[in-house]
Symmetry: C2
């Protein structure tokens, strides 16, 4: 079945690109989008510093993160531990680019794309994500966070 | 058999239990959650029948799907093509289990877990997803859809 899964991913890999070229502008305030983009810059900065505690601090108290290849990380302690694992594994240069933000009161969902670079500055992986943000004590924080990679697995 | 029961235990013992045990009940109407759960059953039924057109019809006109290992599928035609690829690769027995629904007017986001079984009924893969649903012409449809697998990559 590993073979079938790989085939599935390969076939998925043949679908069209164009994530950044989306048309319709969804409901959002520019202020909220700016706050989310600033939050994403803080994510990148924390990875660059290798600071898993700073990463966890960007999440709500009841946040859940859904990493590929692992189970849910629930709550700040588990989230910090998971990101420490990513940092230890060499994740350092991560860029998050917002494609879409749709706000509903103190909740917003964001669609975006991520790019990871290696020590030589070359892109080593890229993909997309959905984050549900919540305003907690006046500050937008990541509340639900899932992503995957777009690179087809090697045959 | 030993392997599949271990997988089942991993799924239900860790992933699902962990998600279900999450305390706070988010804002939702029971009606909306029921509609979303019914929509998920339609997804499973369409996979079981190998009907990619029926799958695509469950999505909004401006839907976007973010499959692992591939780029975004944007719009019904691209979504149908992507699911046809999955069906052709053998995806047939897919179960979606809602963990959380949070509704904001005609938008809702769902967190859930998925299980894929092989022809012998054994679980071959499992993971989690976030779907943003939109009420379109009075009917809840999938609007943004991303998932990943929870099985760690083989060393």
């Amino acid at each position: 079945m590993a073979r079938s899964s790989r085939t599935v991913r390969l076939l998925f890999g043949t679908t069209l690109a164009g994530l950044v070229a989306f048309g319709a502008a969804p409901a959002q305030s520019q202020e909220t989008r700016a706050a989310i983009e600033a939050g994403n810059k803080q994510v990148s900065a924390a990875f660059a510093k290798g600071d898993a505690a700073a990463l966890a601090a960007l999440y709500t108290r009841t946040a859940e993160v859904f990493p590929p290849g692992g189970d849910v990380a629930k709550g700040k302690e588990a989230i910090q531990k998971m990101f420490q694992g990513a940092i230890d594994a060499g994740v350092k240069d991560l860029t998050l680019s917002t494609v879409e933000v749709e706000q509903h009161g103190d909740t917003a969902h964001e669609v975006g794309v991520w790019t990871m670079k290696g020590p030589d500055g070359a892109v080593v992986d890229h993909g997309k994500y959905i984050v549900v943000w919540k305003k907690e004590q006046g500050r937008w924080k990541l509340h639900r966070d899932i992503w995957n990679g777009s690179t087809p697995p090697k045959p």
